[in-house]
C-alpha cells in the first residue's frame, strides 16, 4: 500500500507460495473461504499443494512465536464468472476467529456503494518507501461515482468495476496487495465492496483506482460456498 500507514484489518489475509513467500492478498468472507483475484493464480485448476494463507498477524513475516498467527493450507481454487476476475480459495480447515481474525460482510446482491463513502484498502504489498513494508498497511480512499469515473476513463468503465477518487498525496494499492479488500464501513459494519486488482501504475494522483465490484458476484460467492 503506497501512502498508507500501519493498521489493523482482521479479514485481510496474506497468500503465500510453496516457498512461504507472500505474493498476494485476500479477504476472509467465511471461516473456510477467502476471496482474491484471478490475476494472482496460474490457472483455475492450479495445483495449490503447498500454498497457504496467513492471518491473525500484522507482520508480513512474523517470528515463529507470534501467538495469534494462523497458517492454513489452501485446498481448492474456484474461478468466478468470466468478467469477474475473482477467485474463491477454500481453506483446509476453518480459521478460528478472534480479536485478530474476523470475517468481513458481503454486500447484498447488486448493491451500489454511495459516492463519497470512505473505504479502506489493506495489504502487505509494496509501499514505495512511504511506510514500513514489514507490517500490514492500510489507507483510506473515497468512493467515486460511476458516472464521474466513467468520464475520467473515457467511457471504458465496466459495470463490474468500482472506482475510488485519486488523492493528491498518491495513495493506493501496489504490487503484493492484489486480491486484498476494499472495505467500506456501512451501517456499523465493515463490508467487502471491492477487490484490489493490478493497475498499470500504483497510486496514481491523476486517475481513479479500479476495483472489482463484489456486489455483482455475491450470488456466485454464496453458490460456491453452498455447493
Amino acid at each position: 500500500i503506497v501512502g498508507g500507514q500501519p493498521g489493523n484489518s482482521p479479514w485481510t489475509v496474506s497468500i503465500r507460495n510453496r516457498a512461504s513467500v507472500h505474493f498476494c492478498g485476500g479477504s476472509l468472507v467465511n471461516e473456510q473461504w477467502v476471496i482474491s483475484t484471478r490475476q494472482c493464480f496460474s490457472s483455475c485448476d492450479a495445483n495449490l499443494t503447498g500454498y497457504k494463507v496467513q492471518l491473525g498477524t500484522l507482520f508480513k513475516d512474523p517470528s515463529p512465536g507470534d501467538p495469534d498467527e494462523q497458517t492454513i493450507p489452501i485446498t481448492r481454487i474456484v474461478c468466478g464468472p468470466s468478467e469477474s476476475q475473482l477467485v474463491m480459495l477454500k481453506l483446509a480447515r476453518p480459521a478460528s476467529l478472534n480479536r485478530r481474525v474476523a470475517l468481513i460482510c458481503l454486500p447484498p446482491e447488486r448493491y451500489v456503494v454511495p459516492m463519497g463513502t470512505i473505504c479502506e484498502i489493506a495489504g502487505w504489498g509494496e509501499t514505495r518507501g512511504t511506510a514500513d513494508s514489514s507490517v500490514l498497511n492500510v489507507a483510506r480512499l473515497p468512493v467515486l461515482s460511476h458516472s464521474e469515473c466513467n468520464k475520467a476513463l473515457h467511457g471504458r468503465l465496466k459495470e463490474s468495476e468500482l472506482c475510488t477518487a485519486p488523492l493528491r498525496a498518491g495513495v493506493g494499492a501496489c504490487e503484493g496487495d492484489y486480491g486484498g479488500p476494499l472495505a467500506c464501513l456501512t451501517a456499523d459494519c465493515w463490508v467487502l465492496e471491492g477487490v484490489i486488482t493490478p493497475s498499470r501504475v500504483c497510486a496514481r494522483t491523476d486517475q481513479p483506482a479500479l476495483f472489482i465490484r463484489v456486489s455483482l458476484y455475491v450470488d456466485w460467492i454464496h453458490k460456491v460456498m453452498k455447493m
Binding site: 496460474s42 485448476d45 468481513i104 459494519c189 493497475s199 498499470r200 450470488d219
Partner: protein, 458 residues
C-alpha cells in the same frame, strides 16, 4: 547415513497384484518403511515390499511389476517399494547390479537361457546370489562393456547388450527442470539423499509439497531452477551437489510463448514489459548491480533473459524482475495482462439465460458437463426432480436457479462442482444495470471490528 530406502523406487498408493497360485501369501510384519527396506535388502528372495503407512505393516514380495503374471493396481492403503536394480533400464557403473529384463543383444540377437548349456556351454549358472535369471542380460564377470549374454546363435558365443549408462540414457534440456531420469549420484560420485527423507539433511523440498517437480526417490532433480539437476547427498558434511547428466543435442521447443499477455505462471512470456507496477525500472539480467544474482543469460539460455524484460526463469507465481531500486530486490510483474483461457462462446443467451434450451454441454474451460440426472461425480442439489420445469435434459447447460451470470452445469471434474458454460450474452440482450436502482440496505452480522466501534484513535 545412507537410508536402506535408497535402493528402492517408491510408487504411492499402489499395490502389486500377483496371479501365481503356487506361491504362499507373503507374511505381514510390523515396521517403518526404512525397517522394511532393511529386511528386504538383506533378503535374497525379496524384490519389493508393500508398506501400509497407517498400520505400519510391511509385506515382503518376491516379485516386481516386471515379473510375469503380476500387475500394478491403485490402493490408497499401500505404498509399493521395488528394488531399483530390477526396474532400471540403464546401468550404473559397469552394470554388475543390473537386474532388468533386457534379453536381446546390441545387435538384436536373442539371449540364451543362463540355465541352458546349449548352443553354448558355460560356467555361469543361476544361483540365488548371482542374479542370473531367465535369459536376461547380466554382468556376472564385471565386464567393462556392461551386461551381456550368451546368444542363441551358434556362431556368436556371447555379445554385449548395449545397455546405456543412466547418465546417458535420458538427456536433459536447458537447465534440466524437466529431467525425470534415474541418475541418483552426484558428479563426485556421492549417493543422493531421498527427497522424502529429512536425514542426513533437513530440506524444504517435500515431494507432497512440490507435486509438479518429479521429486521421486533419490534421483537428481532441479526443483529450484538451479543451473543443473542436483540432489542432497548422503554425506552429512556435504549438503547438496550437482549431478552429471548429458545435455540433449536438440533443445526442446518452448511451449506457450506469448508476448502481449502471459499464460499460467508466465514461463513462456517473451514480451517487453520492463518496469514494475510501482514505476521502478527493472535491472538488466546481464548486470549484477544493484542486486547480485545467478540468473545470467548465459547460464539460462532457454529463458530469454534479454535486456531488463520481466521474465519467469524459476517457476515463480508470475513474470518478475530484479529492480533498479537498491532496497527492493525483486518485484512481480502482475500488471502484465493474463491471456484469456476460456473457450470461444459458440452460442448466446438472452437475459440471464433462464430460457436457454440449447445443446452446449461443456464449461467455459472445456470440461464436459455432468448429466443433470446423474449422482456422480457430484451429488446435485438441483436436478430434474427438484426443477421439473427447467428443461434439465441430458448434460446441456441450463440456468435453473436464475443465476445472474448465465447458464451453468455440474462438471465431470471431481474438483469442480459446477462452472459456467461457453455461452455469452446475446448482443442487444438487455439486463437492468445495477446502477439504475441503487437503494439503501442494512447489514447485521459480521465485519465488526471491536476497537473501531469505540472509534478509538489508532
Amino acid at each position: 547415513h545412507r537410508s536402506p530406502l535408497n535402493d528402492f523406487q517408491r510408487l504411492r498408493a499402489t499395490e502389486l497384484l500377483a496371479a501365481p497360485a503356487d506361491l504362499p501369501p507373503p507374511l505381514l510384519e510390523r515396521g517403518s518403511a526404512e525397517q522394511c527396506a532393511q529386511r528386504c535388502a538383506t533378503s535374497l528372495a525379496c524384490r519389493a515390499f508393500h508398506h501400509d503407512r497407517q498400520s505400519q505393516l510391511c509385506q515382503l514380495l518376491p516379485w516386481t511389476q516386471h515379473s510375469p503374471h503380476v500387475q500394478l493396481q491403485k490402493n490408497i492403503h499401500y505404498d509399493l517399494y521395488q528394488k531399483k536394480d530390477y526396474l532400471r533400464d540403464c546401468i550404473v557403473a559397469d552394470g554388475t547390479n543390473y537386474r532388468g529384463t533386457r534379453a536381446t543383444t546390441e545387435k538384436g540377437l536373442r539371449c540364451q537361457q543362463w540355465q541352458a548349456t546349449t548352443p553354448h556351454d558355460h560356467r555361469f549358472l543361476p544361483s540365488p546370489h548371482n542374479g542370473l535369471e531367465g535369459n536376461y542380460c547380466r554382468n556376472p564377470d564385471r565386464d567393462k562393456r556392461g551386461p551381456w549374454c550368451y546368444t542363441v546363435d551358434a556362431n556368436i558365443r556371447h555379445q554385449s547388450c548395449g545397455i546405456k549408462k543412466c547418465e546417458d540414457a535420458i538427456c536433459m534440456t536447458c537447465n534440466g527442470e524437466e529431467y525425470r531420469g534415474t541418475v541418483d549420484r552426484t558428479e563426485s560420485g556421492i549417493e543422493c539423499q531421498r527427497w522424502d527423507l529429512q536425514h542426513p539433511h533437513k530440506h524444504p523440498y517435500h515431494p507432497d509439497k512440490y507435486p509438479d517437480k518429479g521429486l521421486d526417490d533419490n534421483y537428481c532433480r532441479n526443483p529450484d531452477s538451479s543451473e543443473r539437476p542436483w540432489c542432497y547427498t548422503t554425506d552429512p558434511r556435504r549438503e547438496r551437489e550437482y549431478c552429471r547428466i548429458r545435455l540433449c543435442k536438440k533443445r526442446s521447443r518452448p511451449l506457450n510463448i506469448t508476448t502481449s499477455c502471459f499464460r499460467g505462471k508466465g514461463e513462456g512470456y517473451r514480451g517487453r514489459v520492463n518496469v514494475t507496477v510501482s514505476g521502478i525500472p527493472c535491472q538488466r539480467w546481464d548486470t549484477q548491480t544493484p542486486h547480485r544474482h545467478h540468473f545470467t543469460p548465459e547460464k539460462y539460455p532457454c529463458k530469454d533473459l534479454q535486456e531488463n524484460y520481466c521474465r519467469n526463469p524459476d517457476g515463480s507465481e508470475a513474470p518478475w524482475c530484479f529492480t533498479t531500486h537498491p532496497t527492493i530486490r525483486v518485484a512481480f510483474c502482475f500488471h502484465i495482462r493474463r491471456c484469456p483461457d476460456e473457450l470461444g462462446a459458440q452460442e448466446c443467451y438472452h437475459g440471464h439465460g433462464e430460457r436457454y434450451h440449447g445443446h452446449i454441454s461443456k464449461t467455459r474451460k472445456g470440461i464436459t458437463c455432468q448429466p443433470w440426472a446423474a449422482q456422480a461425480p457430484h451429488v446435485p442439489q438441483i436436478s430434474p426432480a427438484t426443477h421439473p420445469e427447467a428443461h434439465l435434459e441430458e448434460n446441456y447447460c441450463r440456468n435453473p436457479d436464475n443465476d445472474s451470470h448465465g447458464p451453468w452445469c455440474y462438471t465431470m471434474d471431481p474438483r469442480t462442482p459446477f462452472d459456467y458454460c461457453a455461452i455469452k450474452p446475446c448482443s442487444g440482450s438487455v439486463v437492468p444495470s445495477i446502477l439504475e436502482n441503487a437503494d439503501a440496505v442494512v447489514f447485521e452480522q459480521c465485519g465488526r471490528r471491536d476497537e473501531r466501534l469505540q472509534l478509538k484513535g489508532r
